[in-house]
């Protein structure tokens, strides 16, 4: 954070580049990525209950490797009563 609480320009440059490079390298637009996430969640939730508010799915990079990392917390199974 710099003056007046605004982010310094080098930080914006890096963040913007990180996003743009993911899309350039994977050929995935932000819209496609978001529908990919929706579909993944739909398939998983057909089998188990998931905590959809805590789900995190993102493309991460490690050197020049791109990977889709998903953190999908499962809801604990409610015991059936009666």
């Amino acid at each position: 954070m710099g003056w007046f609480g605004s982010k310094r320009s080098a930080d914006s440059a890096k963040e913007r580049l990180q996003l743009v490079l993911i899309h350039d390298r994977t050929d995935l637009t932000p819209t496609e990525l978001s529908s990919l996430k929706d579909e993944i969640l739909e398939v998983i939730s057909r089998h188990v209950d998931i905590d959809s508010n805590a789900v995190q799915i993102a493309v991460e990079h490690d050197g020049r490797q791109q990977r889709l990392v998903a953190d999908i917390p499962l809801k604990s199974q409610r015991r059936r009563t009666g």
């Binding site: 710099g2 310094r8 320009s9 080098a10 930080d11 440059a13 890096k14 913007r16 580049l17 990180q18 743009v20 490079l21 350039d24 390298r25 990079h61 050197g63 020049r64």
Partner: protein, 265 residues
């Protein structure tokens, strides 16, 4: 003798490819290493003026390809360095006058004669770029610490990966350390983190680069220039010598970490 072919590329124009080629060539040739520079920018040649050889051109690369002269006749010897030659691009033709296999053939003919063949790639990722990388044993990607240059460098690196070109290395040109310290310019660490290839040189922004290009004597020949020193260091690393990176602001810390990151320590 069998030459190593090194192509200098960038994607984006104006980041300093031609300056880089001229300076690495001058620094290598000053060390008694035999170097031929090939201008791959057909129709927009500039390596001749940066090297100060524009008045000596008789034949160009397209004349060689189309059989109007021998390869030797198109090689212009440098004014000061007897080990340095330039094969100029054609100015009145376009990139389609040359094919990747023409470039391979020319380099194969030169390989037994010299130590290094440096190819100045045109901007872009089309035919001229494909011609320039076809014979390359190694590609040096030049970028500036700036969003569009880094993005375009990433595209070029992606294509080189797909072409299975090995030992690609990065040159960060025109680094303004004062802006980096103010967090108003991407740092070398940021650029390396984004692009994910090894670093071979960082060249500081330096007015003497413009002065020397005005005169047609590459800045690597100026012993006082910081940029010249950075280019001379790159030439040494190309020859396999271990050279520490320049201390841009005379403060350790950042540079130590950077050297660790790139495995140069």
């Amino acid at each position: 003798m069998t030459a190593q072919v090194i192509t200098v590329s960038s994607g984006k124009g104006g980041v300093g490819k031609t300056t880089t080629v001229a300076n690495i060539a001058v620094a290598l040739a000053a060390d008694q290493v035999k170097v031929v520079c090939l201008d791959g920018d057909i129709g927009l040649r500039n390596l001749d003026v940066i090297m100060g050889l524009e008045n000596r051109i008789v034949y160009d690369i397209v004349d060689v390809i189309e059989g109007r002269c021998k390869l030797r006749q198109a090689m212009i010897r440098d004014k000061h360095l007897p080990e340095l030659y330039l094969i100029p691009a054609a100015q009145t033709r376009d990139k389609n006058a040359v094919s990747p296999s023409d470039m391979m053939r020319i380099c194969n003919e030169l390989r037994p004669e010299v130590d290094f063949i440096l190819i100045d790639s045109p901007a872009g990722i089309e035919r001229g770029f494909r011609n320039a990388i076809a014979p390359a044993d190694r590609v040096l990607v030049v970028t500036n610490p700036e969003v569009s240059a880094v993005r375009d460098a990433d595209r070029v690196i992606g294509i080189l990966e797909a072409e299975e070109k090995r030992s690609t290395a990065l040159i960060i040109n025109r680094l303004n350390q004062m802006l980096v310290k103010q967090h108003d310019m991407l740092s070398p660490e940021d650029v390396l983190d984004l692009l994910g290839i090894p670093l071979i040189g960082i060249v500081p922004e330096d007015e003497s680069v413009i002065v020397s290009s005005n005169r047609g004597t590459p800045v690597a020949q100026d012993p006082k220039s910081r940029a010249g020193q950075a280019f001379r260091n790159i030439a040494k690393r190309i020859k396999g010598e271990e050279v520490p990176f320049l201390d841009m602001d005379k403060q350790a810390g950042l540079w130590d970490r950077l050297q660790k990151m790139t495995g140069r320590r």
